[in-house]
């Protein structure tokens, strides 16, 4: 976690809108210390994006359907399985073990993707 420069912080309130803004950004980041362990995969135009994603072990990946048609997320080795996601619905899964997880859409199996979980 990055720390604010104390000298800059002292000047901040009076003269630097920029410093204020960055302080606000940092506050947001520090409020969610797991930010680095969360990732999102979007479903757009019958495709997972990114189709291949690398995360650290323990990371939670959220799949969001942004199409007008329902999709699902089904692991090829049965380690996870969403229900059908209608428009804007999400499915999250925490990857607790390192490895490569291939998945596809149970309705449109031409749609495939891969999550690589690094140790």
């Amino acid at each position: 976690m990055q720390k604010l420069n104390p000298a800059r912080r002292a000047r901040g309130w009076r003269e630097s809108g920029v410093a204020l803004l960055s302080a606000a950004c940092l506050a947001t980041l520090s409020a969610s210390p797991l930010a680095a362990a969360e990732a999102e995969v979007n479903i757009d135009n019958f495709a997972f994006a990114p189709a291949e994603l690398t995360v650290k072990v323990g990371a939670t990946v959220t799949f969001r359907n942004r199409d007008d048609i329902p999709h699902s997320v089904v692991s090829s080795n049965q380690s996870f399985h969403s229900s059908a996601l209608d428009t804007d619905e999400t499915f999250s899964f925490a990857f607790e073990k390192p490895g490569t997880y291939e998945y596809f859409c149970g309705l449109h199996p031409k749609m495939t993707g891969k999550i690589i979980v690094a140790p």
């Binding site: 135009n45 019958f46 495709a47 199409d67 007008d68 048609i69 329902p70 699902s72 089904v74 090829s76 229900s83 059908a84 209608d86 428009t87 291939e102 998945y103 596809f104 149970g106 309705l107 449109h108 199996p109 031409k110 495939t112």
Partner: protein, 317 residues
């Protein structure tokens, strides 16, 4: 069994000989989807021949997507009702109806209820097969099977005879494989082989399934991985008609004795293969929507190999 003709009793063998000899003198009528044959009085042979040649017709509707509510059609129940009104206004009542899947959008009970109620207004027997949108309940298709699976095998495949033709409803939307297309599976293919066993090669075969049984556009998943195995089993038949849905547009192809045809949706159109970034719903101007939705009427004429297929849009009178 014996039948009386002109006051003369004839036995089953005699009746069959008579049917063969008279040919067109057998009038097929369909009562609630169940065909019964009647031997006509010999004296009225000419009239009988004329009647028998009329054949019979049935309707195909597809992809009603009840529950869809996006701009491509905010009210698919309304357009389904319009399609059923169209069926009801036909001058000749069809023998029955087939629905080639995606009855609902999300397999929800109220969506099935609304669809059944609207389709029921046609007061026809309906033979369903599921689309991928009908088997996404938490129990992987149980909701569909509880409603429409009576008498069906496996995930809902079935066959029946009507008007001298053999109808086969196949399911190619379950147990789909990563990277694949529609899928029939070995269990269903074994059933199909058995179902066709002993059928005369001259029996007209009508196959219906949701996803096309030919490679319309595999890049968009518009095809069925193991359809070649099913078509191989149908090869010996002189007349095979394959009716599909799924792609929400008309498409047809003839290959040997097999005529392939896809129907319009009653809900929303989809783009022609490869003309859009994805096969998702296609937005057309509101006043154009009904010209790209519709129903299909299929007519079977005894003695003619090809069935007459007529598509009419909801915009046509």
């Amino acid at each position: 069994m014996s039948i009386e003709i002109d006051g003369k009793k004839i036995d089953r063998r005699g009746a069959l000989e008579c049917m063969v000899w008279a040919g067109a003198g057998v009038l097929w009528t369909l009562d609630g989807g169940v065909p019964t044959s009647k031997l006509l009085p010999v004296g009225g042979a000419a009239q009988a021949a004329e009647k028998a040649q009329k054949g019979f017709s049935f309707l195909q509707i597809s992809d009603s997507h009840i529950g869809f509510n996006k701009p491509a059609n905010p009210n698919p129940l309304g357009t389904l009702q319009e399609a059923i009104d169209k069926v009801n206004s036909l001058p000749e009542k069809p023998a029955f109806m087939i629905h080639t899947g995606d009855i609902t959008h999300l397999s929800k009970p109220e969506q099935f209820d609304d669809a059944e109620k609207a389709i029921g207004e046609a007061k026809l027997d309906v033979h369903y097969v599921p689309g991928e949108h009908d088997v996404i309940d938490e129990q992987n298709g149980q909701a569909y099977l509880e409603r429409f699976g009576k008498g069906a095998k496996g995930a809902g495949w079935r066959s029946f005879d009507a008007g001298g033709a053999h109808f086969i409803g196949l399911v190619n939307v379950v147990n789909l494989k990563s990277g694949g297309l529609g899928f029939l599976g070995d269990e269903q293919l074994a059933w199909l082989a058995d179902d066709l066993k002993g059928k005369s090669a001259s029996t007209p075969i009508i196959v219906f399934a949701h996803i096309p049984l030919w490679a319309v556009y595999p890049e968009w998943g518009w095809g069925t991985d193991d359809s070649a195995k099913a078509l191989a089993l149908l090869k010996r038949f002189g007349s095979v008609t394959v009716l599909n849905g799924h792609i929400h547009q008309l498409m047809q192809k003839v290959e040997g004795n097999v005529a392939f045809h896809t129907a319009m949706s009653t809900a929303f159109p989809q783009p022609a293969p490869g003309t859009a970034p994805s096969p998702g719903p296609m937005l057309v101007a509101a006043d154009k929507l009904r010209s790209v939705l519709g129903v299909t009427r299929v007519e079977y004429w005894p003695g003619k190999a090809a069935l007459a297929i007529t598509d009419s849009s909801l915009a046509s009178s």
